[in-house]
Every structure is written in C-alpha cells, then in structure tokens.
C-alpha cells in the first residue's frame, strides 16, 4: 500500500486519537472523568498497529517519527500513576487509622494501662508527699519545672530560656519534642517490647509526678489550664505510639504460625499506620499547645475546651470508619 493511501485511510482515526490525547494532557483529574476515556485504549492499540505497519513497510521517516511521538505520548497517558493525595490522606485519617487501631485494640489498652497507670499512681503519690518527685527527677529539673509553671511568670508553660521565643518557635519545639518521644516509644518495641515498656513507664511517671507535685505546690491554676487543651491529643498519641511498639514486640515474641521475620513485616505495616496517625495527632497537639494553651484565656473556657477535646478523641477512635463507607484501610 502506498504511503499516501495509508495516511488517507487512517487519518480519521489519528485525528480522533490526537484530540483525545491532547484533551487528556491538558485536563486535571476532575475534568478527566468527562472525557470519553473508554475509547482511548482501542484508539491507542490502533495507533500502535499503524506505527508498526509504517515501520515495517518502510514509510518515510517523517511519518514514522510522528507516529512514534503519538504512541509515546499515549503510553504515558495510559500508564500514569494516579495519586489522589488529598483523598487518600482524608481516607486514612477518617477511617483507615481508627480502624487499624481498633483492630489492635489489645495493644492500645495495654499501652494505656502501662502509660496511665504509673502516671496516676505517681500523681497521687507526689500529691500526697512533696518529696516524692525527687525519686524521679533531680533537683535542677524540678526547679525548672516549678519555674515554668510559676503563676508569677509572664508566660506560663515556657522554660526560662524560651520566654522571648515566639509562639511559632514554641510550636516547632513542641513538635520536635513530642514526635521524638513518640518515635522512641515506638522504636523501643523492636527490643522485644522492653523499650516501649520503659519509655511508656518513664514518661508516665515523669508526667504524673510533675502534675501531682505542681498541684500540691499550689501552681495548679497555671498548670491545669495549660495542659487541658492539648493533653487529650498528646497523651492518647503517646499511648498509640506505645501500642505500635507493642505490635512489633508481639510479632517478635508471639509470631503464631509465621516466621518471625514475616510476622514482623506484617505487623510493621500496621504499626507504621498507627505511628503516622499518632504523629499527626501530635502535630495537632503542638498547634494547640503552642498557640492556645499559652494564651491568656479564662481557665473555665480552657477546661471546657479540654473536655471537648477528650470527647472528640474518644468518639473519633471508637466511631470513625465503623460503617461501610470508603476504604482507606
């Protein structure tokens, strides 16, 4: 077949294909759904066939190059990776993460017991005995804590070196601090869970003793309004990170019917989901801690906001993603 005849015969198909191709290249993901996409694979196959024919029949290099270009562009459109970042993140946060947590509820409750148990015990102990805190922290650290929450200081909740820092700088500090604590709690799980136990227990003791000590010192009016805002998110997030660490430990200690390495791989995938969710919660907590907790709002409002946050967190973790709904697991 002569080249001109070939081009004439196929011209209609090529024009259709080119139109669809250019529309695809121009559009965003929303507009794509309106295009007649089901025609594209068939047109692409036709074009590939025509390209092969043109090459094997030895048509002019101009035609061959043009068809090559069309095929190449079509290939890129056909094999595009579709990533819906926003939808994926929302799906993870709204159902994937809570569902994963509920699937491993045993780890979460164990972590809560290991974290809040020492915290409450030490809290009451140091409330009753003013020297109990010195068994956990040394005198310098206790003095720093007292200075931070002194009712007389300008900006309660900030250590002496950071009085002049902006709220934004404090936010950065909180993010770094909280996320590193959570990550250490998670990563400690690989040491057969002993690391996680250690970090959860230590942090619980420290927090509880500080709370109890400051309350019995009379600094309760600065301390409790400060922590009520972000406490729900932060403490829950650390418990979730501990749960992730316990998952890793469970894979190593009780792999069931799988090899330990396989169990670790499977559990690690779930644990990473939990840690990601915990990190997001911690960033949110840092936002609240940096900007809301230090602001001079009446304590009642802060307590109220704190109660709302506790309720929200509890409802979110129990109810989100329960019904069918979107995937995102």
């Amino acid at each position: 077949m002569r080249q001109s005849q070939f081009e004439e015969e196929q011209a209609a198909v090529w024009t259709q294909y080119l139109e669809l191709l250019e529309a695809l290249e121009r559009s965003w993901s929303r507009g794509r759904s309106r295009l007649p996409l089901q025609r594209f694979p068939r047109l692409f196959r036709r074009l590939c066939g025509d390209y092969a024919l043109a090459r094997s029949r030895g048509y002019s290099p101009g035609l061959v190059n043009e068809l090559h270009g069309l095929v190449h562009r079509g290939y890129r459109q056909l094999y595009r990776s579709r990533r819906d970042w926003l939808g994926g993140t929302l799906a993870f946060l709204s159902s994937g993460f809570p569902r994963t947590l509920r699937r491993h509820a045993w780890a979460f409750w164990l972590s809560v017991a290991l974290f809040f148990g020492p915290m409450l015990a030490m809290g009451f102990a140091s409330y009753g005995d003013s020297d109990a805190i010195y068994s956990i922290l040394d005198a310098g650290q206790v003095a720093d804590m007292e200075a931070m929450y002194d009712p007389g200081s300008d900006k309660p909740g900030r250590s002496l070196e950071r009085q002049a820092d902006t709220d934004f700088a404090m936010f950065g500090f909180y993010v770094m601090n909280n996320v590193s604590v959570a990550f250490r709690t998670f990563a400690g799980g690989i040491f057969l869970g002993l690391g996680s136990l250690l970090f959860l227990g230590l942090n619980g003791l420290v927090i509880g003793s500080v709370a109890g000590h400051l309350t019995q010192l009379g600094y309760g009016e600065t301390f409790w309004p400060f922590v009520s805002g972000h406490g729900a998110l932060e403490l829950t997030a650390i418990a979730i990170a501990g749960a992730a660490g316990l998952l890793l430990a469970a894979a190593l200690l009780a792999p069931g019917r799988r090899r330990r390495l396989d169990a670790l791989r499977a559990n690690a995938a779930e644990a990473v989901q939990l840690v990601t969710g915990a990190m997001i919660m911690l960033v949110l907590a840092a936002i609240i801690e940096g900007f809301w907790s230090a602001s001079p709002v009446a304590p009642q409002i802060k307590y109220f906001a704190g109660a709302i946050w506790w309720l929200l967190v509890a409802l979110y973790l129990t109810l989100a993603g329960r019904r069918g709904g979107s995937g995102g697991d």
């Binding site: 799906a91 940096g290 989100a320």
Partner: protein, 497 residues
C-alpha cells in the same frame, strides 16, 4: 572447576549485575561469612585492644590494616560453597597454606590500598598467581570498566553510613533518665568512653560490610570469567553431551558463632558501680575535707559566657557593627516576628481546616448506608462463543434444536445446545466462563460441581460438539436423540438437581 555444579545461575552478566549477585550471595550466607570473618578478626582486635588501650585511633587503624587477612578465608570459603562444598573452620585450618599464602604479604604491605582489592583476592588466593602474572591477569579481568573501584567506594560509604546510624541509634534510644552518650565527645575527644563506643560501632560496621564486599568482588570475578570463557555456552554443551554429574559430598556444618564474644567485649566498656563504706560522722567529715583539699579540686578552668551589657545606650560603646547593619538586623528581627505571627495563624487555620475535613468525612461515612452485598448477577441471555459472534438464545431451546435437526443443520443444532448448556450452567451454578475458555476447560470447571449423571451428559455433549466442529464427524441420530432427551430432563430438573 566443575561449572555445572555452580549454585548460582550462569549467564552473561554485566559487572554491575555481578555486584548484585555478590550482594545476594552475601545475604544468603551472611551468618557463616560473618562468623568466619570474626574468627580471624576478633583475635587481632582483642590483641590490638590490649596493646593500644589508650588510643582508639591507632587500634582502628591496626584493625583496618589487617582487613585482607580476614577476607582471605572468606574468599576461599565462598569459592568452595558456590560449588556445593560447605567448609568448616577445621577444613580451613587444614587448607591454611592455601588460605593464607605467602603471596598475601604484599597485600598487607604496599598493596594494601589497592582500589579494587576485592577483585584481586580471587586471583591471588584461588588462581594462585603472583607478581607479573597476577598483574596481567588482573588487567584482563578488570576489563574496561572500573566496577571494582566503584565497589570499594560504595562499600566505604556504606560502612560510614552504618557507623553513623549505629552511633545515632545508641545516642537517641537511650532513655532520658540514664546518662546520655555525648555525641560531640564521641567524634572529637580522643580516648574518652564515647569515642571508644563510636570506634567499636565502626568495627561492627566493618564486620557487617565485609561479607558483602568479599562476595561482591568474588561475583564480579565470576561474571568476568563467565564472559571471557563463555561458561554458559560450555554448560549447554556439557548438558547436550550428557556429561556425568558428580554428587557432592555430605555438607559439613559450619559451627562458628562469635557473637557472644562481641557482646562480652562491648559489655567490658560499661563502668562498674562504686562500693559504699560505713563511716561515722566525724570520720566522714575528715575524709571529705581531705578529699576536697587534694589537687584534683584545685583546678582552674576558663569559661566564656555572654552577659547582658545593659540598655540601648550600651550599644554606642560597642561600635563593632556599623549603624546600617544594626538597623538591617533589627528590621530582620521585626520581619521575623511578623513572619512568626503569620505562620502561627496559618498553622492555626491549617489545623482547623484539617480537623473540619476529617470530621466531615467521618460524619459522612457514618451516615452513609451500609454497602449492600452484591446481588446475584443475572446471567445474560446472550452468550459469546467464538470471539465477536453473539448468539441469541431462543426461548424454547429444544424446539429450535429439533427444527435445526429437521433442516439438517446438525452443526447449528449442537452449537445451540452447547450454548444453551453454558448459559444454564452460568445461571444455575454460577459458572464463570471467559471468552477464552475452551470446551474442555468448561467441562473441567463443570465436572467439579455437577453430580455424576449431569457431568456425564456435559461430557458427552462436549465430545459430540468437538467431533462435529473440528472433526467434521456427524453424530449418530441415536446419540443426538439421547443427548436431547437427557438435556430436557436436566433443564426441567431445576435447581439443586
């Protein structure tokens, strides 16, 4: 070399693929290789540690310098293991003349810093060449690419990465209450405990990388020899020729585990707690005063600290910075504060928006009705038999079949019967048939699910259809009649028959 007993697949490999193969081999045999490395490395490390207790740098240099000595048995072991012979420490000791030849000495002296050392070793130890012959052979094996040199560079970097990550892991994972590892001391202060810790971690990194380095060099050597001597072709020829295969001898267990020794040497670094004494109050006071009067407490140290010099007018005296620079810095400071305020509100809004979005999603998911389970699919009344031909099945199949037989269209009749059977199976038993399923595949799918007599019917139908369609043999009228009769019974039998 019996190349038909090689444990790896022999094919022409590019040098980089050879490196890949080496890494895979090292991963596969990592415990044995590491154990073997420790057998030679640990004595030297401990000996060096006793000798050079005060300076970790010299110790590391010593341990690093003797690397060829540790790697020689590894190459030897690999070469035997690749052909199926698993050697133990005893076998290596017996073959020590070959494992630690005298030719190794130049590698410990002036040839220590050869850039592609890993490629040199197989030539030295396995082929037994030295001097000029070795250089020539190396030139041949190295070819045009510098992959051996790249391997050395990559492994050096990986060692550093492992060292740094090990150090940081130890520094970060220590809980808050315990004494922390001073990172700056571990890199800067010679002779301090953190420095020793960092040196030991580097030694561990060397231990971890050594199997990979040696195996990659060996695999590079193999790849090059495969290319030069066409081992893959030779294998094919041997197979064609039918060369007899020799069975390898029973594998010996390699029993080298030196990890306990490593742990012990690490544990030796930890300090031991001090013992307490019982003293009376005056004795204690005297002791304390005597201790405080000793010269260790009379040291002076110079420390520099910053002290606030006063208000705005104090800056006049400094005069170190010109005014315009001061103004610029102040302006930057104010700008920084404004940026911080702006970021603060931005973050607040971003956090609020995120929470709102998530809340909206959660509420939407809660209100959405539960997804109904997918209903039973109604089988289509049109069935695709051959590609791109669709057959409309009439309402009364058997009447049409008999009509076609009356018209002497046996082919049409049997094909209709067959199509109707597939349709019936899809509807009744949920048989999933694709366009590409052949008749026998359909039959196989069916036989598993149907009771015996119906399976029999389907079998007869399929065979008759195939004989007619492909073999052009008409079925006998009696057989056709029997098929129709049984089919009628089957169709009217209904579900669960």
């Amino acid at each position: 070399m019996e190349i038909d007993r090689l444990a790896a697949v022999i094919r022409p490999r590019t040098p980089w693929e050879g490196l890949d193969l080496g890494f895979v081999l090292a991963r596969l045999w990592f415990p044995a290789l590491l154990g073997l490395w420790c057998v030679t490395a640990l004595p030297i490390a401990l000996f060096g540690g006793v000798l050079l207790k005060g300076s970790p740098d010299l110790w590391l240099l010593l341990v690093w310098w003797f690397k060829p000595l540790y790697e020689a048995p590894l190459v030897f072991w690999l070469s035997r293991r690749l052909f199926g012979e698993s050697l133990g420490v005893r076998d290596l000791w017996r073959a020590r003349r070959q494992v630690f030849p005298l030719r190794l000495l130049p590698n410990l002296l002036w040839l220590r810093l050869h850039p592609s050392r890993s490629l040199q070793f197989p030539i030295l130890i396995l082929e037994g060449l030295e001097g000029k012959a070795r250089r020539q052979r190396q030139r041949v094996l190295q070819g045009t690419g510098g992959t051996g040199i790249w391997l050395t560079i990559i492994c050096v970097h990986l060692e550093s990465v492992l060292w740094l990550s090990g150090l940081l892991l130890v520094a970060i994972m220590i809980p808050d209450g315990l004494p922390k590892l001073d990172l700056s001391a571990s890199v800067l202060e010679q002779g301090s405990t953190p420095y020793w810790v960092s040196t030991l971690i580097y030694w561990l990194a060397m231990a971890a990388m050594a199997p990979f380095y040696v195996a990659a060099g060996f695999a590079l050597y193999l790849a090059r020899r495969t290319e030069l001597e066409a081992w893959d072709l030779e294998l094919v020829f041997r197979r064609v020729e039918g060369a007899p295969r020799h069975r390898g001898r029973h594998r010996a267990q390699t029993g080298v585990v030196a990890m306990a020794m490593l742990a012990a040497s690490l544990a030796a670094c930890l300090p031991s707690p001090a013992q307490g004494l019982e003293l009376s109050r005056e004795q204690a006071k005297e002791e304390i005063e005597a201790v405080l009067a000793s010269k260790e407490f009379k040291q002076t140290r110079e420390i520099e600290i910053w002290v606030y010099a006063g208000g705005e007018d104090a800056s006049e005296d400094s005069g170190a910075l010109p005014d315009w620079l001061l103004e610029l810095l102040r302006g930057l400071g104010r700008g920084g504060e404004m940026a911080a305020i702006a970021f603060k509100w931005l973050l607040f809004m971003a956090g609020g928006v995120l929470v709102l979005f998530v809340l909206r999603r959660v509420l939407r998911d809660l209100h959405r009705p539960r997804r109904a389970p997918s209903a039973q699919q109604e089988a289509p009344m049109t069935v695709t038999l051959a590609p791109r031909t669709k057959i409309e099945l009439p309402a009364d199949i058997l009447k049409e079949v008999e009509a076609r037989i009356g018209r002497d269209d046996l082919r049409g009749a049997l094909s209709l019967l067959y199509a109707a059977s597939i349709d019936l199976l899809q509807r009744r038993y949920g048989l999933k048939v694709k366009e590409s399923t052949t008749e026998f595949e359909c039959l196989a799918l069916v036989l598993g699910q149907l009771p015996a007599d119906e399976g029999n019917l389907m079998g007869r139908l399929v065979r008759a259809w195939q004989r007619l369609a492909y073999g052009h043999c008409d079925p006998a009228p009696k057989e056709l009649g029997a098929l129709i009769h049984d089919w009628r019974r089957w169709e009217s039998g209904g579900r669960g028959n």
